[in-house]
């Protein structure tokens, strides 16, 4: 009874989170570990354990792959800091012209599948690419290099940092910095000593996510890295499953190594944040006054415009140019441009329309489920007590370190057991579970960072006033983290709508998804048709959330604060 008083009713939510995460994350993960140990697990046999370990670990390329993976992960992290932090600070503390426009444009990179964005870059920058066709400049050598790859991945991932940090600094507000200034600190000093440190949870959480996403990313390293011999762990894993003879245990072992890297990053992040207090949302009314930029307005706007062009404009234009081209070899000549590919998609060639409907429904279902579960999990982790919290937090982090293809294999191994009375396998539900597993870290990270800033006294006050724990969660906590949560749910929707690797492997027979359709077209050499589908998917995954938010703001008025 005493313990129950102390946990203050977080217990129930903790149990909900724990059980859901066990089903969605832990079960497939356990099967991956078993697969790493028992090579014939798929046939239901536990014979010959660990015969693969020696061969996989003794591979001299393994160290090399790990080194490349770390280089890429850290490089992309630094790239995202360099691009995302200054923009986020400017956005949070100052009145940036066209702020809402930049927010929307910075959301778009989430909607562009990384391998499509990279293909857009390749089509633009390679010799005789669009850039050279239009201007005569050939930037191929820059593109096909490690710095080029880091830059492109940073441009694709920096919005993670931008949105998390700008929201966190906004929540910190200028108030604490102003207190510093009252005590005599100059603006820059007040920012670096007060505001930025208070925003650390958001920054650290988003950087961790960037690192995990960068080392787990397949599309860009596969498309770009292979051109200059830069292989990472994920491409190593994919190679083991990309042709006969396939090596599932080897892929599982490499995945566990990848998980290890992410867990180390995760523990470092926890250590940095441990033992400090980041409560800034205390229930006292706050003025949300932002300062004017003054003379800096023009350069700051120019910086926002440049990043928006590179991260969103250029890939989209390249995708659109390819979609409008009748043939790739025809180039950007008026005679070679037309709407033929769009006509084919809307004529439902190859099941294009079913693919759109399937993926968009799955995306919405995943966003709602992962968002709800993410909020509960983050609440239990941040505000709960007891030993289970670290386990829960690690469990919620795990999938971001697992390559999609490995999650897929784990799902099949787990859910296709003959003794299961009912199974989601071979129904579309398996895709919903797989997407939730892969994407759960996003809402958990965003919501945790937001919960960390909410002072405990708010909750205590509500309890004193007689609210029950669940009421506190939904009336006090949920509304306060809603802006962060909604942002992450949009991200989940976008990524789930176009997820490629897991979709390809666990999709139930006969079910087509957007990514599956695009992949089929590329595989058949119909790049134009694939790019057309990508373009339509990007437009839809951008428009649907925007309309949703507009509708929510209309209904809820000022109470809805997501993406303001």
């Amino acid at each position: 009874m005493r313990r129950d008083m102390k946990t203050g009713g977080h217990g129930l939510l903790g149990w909900v989170a724990g059980i859901s995460l066990s089903v969605i994350v832990l079960v497939p993960f356990v099967f991956i570990v078993l697969q790493a140990i028992f090579p014939d697990l798929g046939r239901g046999s536990f014979a010959a354990p660990l015969v693969h370990l020696g061969r996989t670990v003794a591979d001299p390329r393994l160290l090399h792959l790990t080194g490349n993976t770390l280089t890429l992960g850290l490089g992309v992290m630094l790239g995202c800091v360099a691009i995302g932090v200054p923009l986020a600070v400017a956005r949070a503390l100052f009145r940036v012209p066209f702020a809402l426009v930049w927010d929307v444009l910075f959301l778009v990179p989430f909607m562009i599948p990384p391998y499509i964005a990279t293909l857009g870059w390749i089509l633009s920058m390679q010799p005789r690419g669009y850039l050279q066709q239009l201007t005569g400049i050939n930037l191929g050598p820059l593109l096909f290099s490690v710095p080029g790859m880091v830059l492109i991945m940073s441009l694709n991932l920096f919005p993670v940092v931008y949105f998390a940090l700008s929201r966190t600094i906004e929540a910190v507000g200028t108030r604490y910095g102003d207190v510093g200034r009252v005590f005599g600190a100059r603006p820059v000093r007040a920012f670096f000593r007060v505001t930025l440190p208070l925003a650390m949870p958001g920054l650290a959480a988003s950087l961790l996510l960037v690192f995990a996403l960068a080392i787990e990313e397949y599309g860009t390293p596969a498309a770009l890295g292979s051109r200059f011999g830069f292989q990472v762990l994920v491409t190593g894993i994919e190679n083991r499953i990309s042709d006969w003879p396939i090596d599932l245990p080897g892929a599982a072992i490499l995945s566990l190594l990848l998980v290890g890297l992410s867990l180390v990053a995760f523990l470092i992040q926890r250590r940095i944040l441990a033992g400090r207090n980041y409560d800034t949302v205390s229930g006292k009314p706050q003025a949300r006054e932002k300062r004017a930029l003054g003379a800096l307005a023009l350069p700051v706007t120019a910086a926002f415009a440049l990043v928006a062009f590179l991260a969103t404009g250029l890939p989209i234009l390249a995708i659109l140019a390819t979609a409008l081209s009748k043939t790739i070899s025809g180039g950007l000549k008026p005679s070679n441009l037309g709407l033929q590919n769009f006509v084919e998609v809307f004529a439902n060639t190859g099941g294009a329309l079913q693919a759109l409907v399937n993926s968009l429904s799955l995306g919405i279902a995943t966003a709602l489920l992962a968002g709800g579960l993410g909020a509960i999990t983050a609440y239990a982790v941040v505000k709960g007590h007891g030993r289970g919290r670290l386990a829960l937090d690690m469990l919620a982090m795990l999938p971001s370190a697992l390559p999609g293809v490995v999650v897929a294999v784990g799902m099949i191994l787990a859910w296709n057991q003959p003794w299961l009375p009912v199974t989601p396998y071979n129904t579309p539900l398996i895709l919903l579970i797989a997407y939730c597993c892969i994407l759960l870290p996003q809402p958990v990270r965003y919501a945790s960072a937001a919960f960390q800033q909410i002072g405990d006294n708010l909750e205590a006050a509500a309890r004193v006033a007689g609210a029950r724990p669940f009421t506190v969660f939904r009336r006090i906590m949920l509304p306060l983290v809603l802006p962060s949560l909604i942002t992450s749910m949009l991200l989940v929707f976008a990524v789930a709508s176009r997820e490629l690797v897991a979709s390809l492997l666990v999709a139930p027979v006969g079910m087509m998804t957007i990514a599956g359709f695009i992949w089929r077209q590329f595989e058949q050499g119909s790049v134009g048709l694939g790019m057309t589908m990508s373009f339509i998917a990007i437009v839809l995954t951008t428009l649907i959330p925007m309309l949703l938010i507009a509708a929510l703001r209309r209904i809820a008025g000022g109470r809805f604060t997501g993406l303001h």
Binding site: G42, R128, S226, G350, N426
Partner: protein
């Protein structure tokens, strides 16, 4: 909160509405690309027999990963792979049903055995962009000449069974010299088949060394500036085996599916994708096996040394 509960409810409802298991009388076919072909074959078969076909299409590797993971509780009835080696391996595991389709009479003997028969055949060639400003290559060795400096891509043999067989066959014939010359001439390994072809279509590169022919031929038919050249010194072919799995609960419907693919109608659909039809009496709008010189590939030997061949290749081309 009502909104929150409603949202979770909606998520579950959406998920539940997606729950729809394939009915029992259907057959399930796992097939390697091209995607349009298997859709067409499935549709034609259903029209003929009334039996529904559930299709799962992916790369050969992904399909095999799925079958390996599912092996404790398999669902696939018919498998169409892009690599004959899978048929040999599955036969060795005792996973296949022996079947000789009456429609396979005109399929040459080297494209069938007790448990597998070819659906169609692809060959590897040089895919060359005539607008690239380079002379038309006729031989593999041409691509190591200065005219093609930095302008050649190769599909990764680690990701494509056919490319691996080409590398193994050429290496068995002439040693590693040609690949050393290619590397010195700036040739690059660019992912799987499609990734090797794309830069050639746009003109960033001039030629693919060992492109899968039907993809390039289909691209050419769409108006892309691409030619496929089969070197007179020889190339390799990749017959695409069809097989019935022993755990199939619908063996008769599965056999009927194989019969349909080997029927006139089925083989015409195969030919329409620019694959070579398996039956020698079905016409196709492309060079056929009899027009090509085929390099000998001793499957047991080359697959026995696959790892060392791939490692040597990777070292030479600095992958």
């Amino acid at each position: 909160m009502r909104a929150f509960t409603a949202a979770m409810g909606l998520a579950l409802a959406l998920g539940a509405s997606l729950m729809a298991s394939p009915a029992m009388a259907d057959i399930t076919v796992y097939s390697a690309g091209p995607g349009g072909l298997i859709d067409k074959l499935a549709k034609g078969y259903t029209e003929k027999t009334g039996v529904k076909v559930n299709v799962f299409q992916a790369t050969t590797g992904k399909i095999m990963a799925r079958i390996e993971s599912e092996a404790a509780n398999p669902v696939v009835d018919v498998l169409i792979s892009a690599s004959w080696d899978t048929a040999s391996d599955f036969a060795k595991r005792g996973w296949l049903v022996a079947y000789a389709s009456p429609n396979a009479a005109m399929v040459p003997d080297f494209l069938k055995n007790d448990t597998a028969v070819a659906q169609g055949i692809s060959a590897l060639g040089i895919a060359w962009n005539p607008a690239s400003g380079t002379p038309r290559p006729t031989e593999w060795a041409d691509l190591a000449k200065p005219a093609y400096k930095d302008l050649v891509t190769l599909p990764d043999p680690a990701q494509s069974g056919a490319s691996f067989e080409l590398v193994a066959a050429l290496q068995a014939k002439n040693g590693w010299g040609l690949f050393k010359d290619l590397a010195a001439n700036g040739a690059i390994v660019a992912g799987a088949n499609a990734e090797a072809l794309n830069p050639v279509m746009q003109g960033a590169k001039a030629a693919v060394f060992g492109a899968v022919d039907y993809i390039s031929l289909a691209a050419k038919a769409k108006g892309e500036s691409i030619d496929v050249i089969f070197p007179a010194s020889g190339t390799v072919i990749a017959p695409r085996p069809m097989m019935i799995l022993k755990w199939s609960k619908q063996p008769d419907a599965s056999k009927a599916f194989i019969d349909y693919v080997l029927s006139d109608e089925g083989q015409k659909a195969v030919a329409a994708t620019y694959l070579m039809p398996a039956r020698s009496d079905v016409k196709a709008n492309r060079p056929l096996i009899s027009d090509l010189k085929i390099l000998p590939v001793d499957a047991a030997a080359v697959y026995g040394t696959r790892d060392t061949t791939l490692a040597e290749f990777a070292k030479l081309l600095a992958k």
